[in-house]
């Protein structure tokens, strides 16, 4: 049943990348346990507006755990304490009355801070643009059933394709590595017959872009897997490691 909580928030506030930020303490009072973490912030923001304090800026959109826009590191955990849950789907019933909650933005060098809790995740876009696609012109596709795909492969591709692109993997990684994100996309397309023609190129270019964007290197902490709201498995990183080496080999030793 719903009841109400009184909490203390320590929220990271920063006007922009050029201005130093700091934690600011706000009380969050009479928060119903049925509301989501972002609705809790809405309530706090409403009270800030009443006090003529500029509301806390945070990214959010769909509020149903799929768009990948919301972020927030809550008490040191990307997307908060619940597993397989985005911040927008985290509900306040998982907190206790009197708790102090630290709220920080994704802290990743490749994600420059924009304001308060909002960061710029365009680095992920550029990785995607480097090769996270199958070049297939509209109009030229063969019948969808012309290439049967074993169910097991289609299911595994779907497991990888479920990535919502939120960047929590990089945010949770002590090395700020985006390997889980890249692994998900590379594996998704490598597992499908349609992805084969660009397989080599894709792995090489996406990894190259990932490196040049300034993400760190994966040292197998598996923090990414633990916080991933889409439950992308770290075994896809292993798959990417394999894909990359085979791609590099194919690329340097052309048999044609």
């Amino acid at each position: 049943m719903s009841h109400q909580l009184n909490l203390t928030l320590k929220v990271w506030r920063q006007k922009n990348a050029g201005t130093p930020g700091k934690f600011v303490e706000y009380p969050a009072q009479n928060i119903p346990t049925d509301c989501s973490f972002l609705e809790m912030l809405d309530i706090v923001n409403e009270s800030l507006v009443q006090q003529n304090i500029e509301p806390i800026a945070f990214d959010h959109d769909c509020r149903e755990g799929i768009c990948g826009m919301c972020s927030l590191v809550i008490n040191g955990v990307a997307h908060g304490p619940e597993r397989a849950t985005t911040t927008c789907q985290l509900h306040m019933r998982h907190f206790k009355d009197g708790d102090t909650i630290y709220i920080e933005p994704w802290r990743v060098g490749a994600f420059p801070l924009i304001k308060d809790l909002i960061v710029d995740r365009n680095a992920l876009e550029r990785i995607q643009q480097a090769g996270g696609f199958i070049s297939a012109r509209a109009g030229g596709a063969p019948d969808a059933n012309s290439v049967p795909i074993p169910k097991q492969n289609a299911d595994a591709a779907m497991d990888a394709a479920a990535c919502i692109g939120c960047g929590a993997c990089a945010a949770a990684c002590p090395n700020s590595s985006a390997m889980l994100f890249v692994a998900a996309k590379v594996s998704h397309l490598a597992l499908l017959p349609q992805g084969q023609p660009e397989r080599t190129r894709r792995a090489l270019k996406m990894v190259k872009t990932m490196d040049s964007e300034g993400f760190g290197n994966c040292t197998n902490y598996y923090e990414c897997e633990a916080v991933c709201p889409a439950e992308i498995k770290s075994s896809f990183i292993s798959m990417l490691n394999r894909e990359y080496v085979f791609a590099a080999a194919r690329d340097s030793v052309s048999m044609i």
């Binding site: 060098g109 949770a172 760190g216 040292t219 923090e223 916080v227 075994s235 990183i237 080496v245 590099a248």
Partner: protein, 229 residues
């Protein structure tokens, strides 16, 4: 050559190098342990084994060279990765609350560097015998170098044994992450074996620790005794 350089420049390339050299070193550590455990078969077995290794001549130097090269590349590459990783996260979190990372994973660089210094000591202690040049002259009744006795005598010093145990502990801590880590990095940690491997990795490291630690422990507890010299 260009391909090799660009491979090494990539993050995954470097990780592969670390994993491959790590794999070689784990192989060495295991082989070395099995060889040394012959100490429990008595002086005959161990000294014969030592003489066999010495008898390899140039090949022994090749093996030693490869091992040292692997160690060197392993260390240099991990330090490079470590520098990059630090640079990738300019601002740290105020609150840290790891969800999955083990102590072993978080201390790889520290455990690794301490183990490296331990290896230097170990080489001076038992390979070059620089700390006890007189050991070079010890021979068993067969006229072979009496490695059996010098190992036991070497471990009778509690400080040396203590340092060895510490070194071994750190080595095995390093391996408990390292073993599953190279499987992951070399691209064979599929989802079916991911959990068993993560589960087994510390136990394998633990076995290696017990195997190695049994020798100084047996020595200091007088369970095995040197030949008279």
């Amino acid at each position: 050559m260009k391909a090799i350089i660009s491979f090494y420049q990539s993050s995954i390339g470097k990780k592969w190098i670390v994993a491959l050299t790590g794999l070689v070193l784990v192989g060495f550590v295991t082989g070395h342990m099995i060889g040394n455990l012959q100490i429990f078969l008595g002086p005959e077995a161990l000294n014969k084994y030592a003489a066999f290794l010495q008898g390899l001549g140039e090949l022994l130097w090749v093996i030693r060279g490869v091992m040292l090269a692997c160690l060197g590349i392993h260390i240099i590459t991990t330090v490079l990765l470590w520098i990059q990783n630090n640079a990738a996260t300019p601002q740290k979190y105020a609150v840290n609350n790891p969800q999955a990372a083990t102590i072993a994973a978080k201390t790889m660089i520290v455990s690794g560097l301490i183990v490296a210094s331990f290896v230097v000591f170990h080489l001076l202690h038992f390979t070059t015998l620089s700390l006890h040049p007189e050991w070079k002259l010890w021979e068993d009744p067969e006229g072979r170098h009496d490695v059996f006795s010098l190992v036991i005598v070497g471990f009778r010093d509690p400080y040396t044994t203590g340092f060895y145990l510490l070194g071994l502990f750190l080595l095995c801590l390093h391996l408990s992450h390292g073993i599953q880590s190279f499987i992951q990095t070399l691209g064979v940690r599929t989802r079916k074996i991911a959990e068993p491997i993560s589960f087994a990795s510390p136990y394998i490291a633990g076995l290696i620790f017990l195997g190695y630690a049994s020798i100084p422990m047996a020595s200091i507890l007088h369970l095995i005794n040197p030949l008279p010299h």
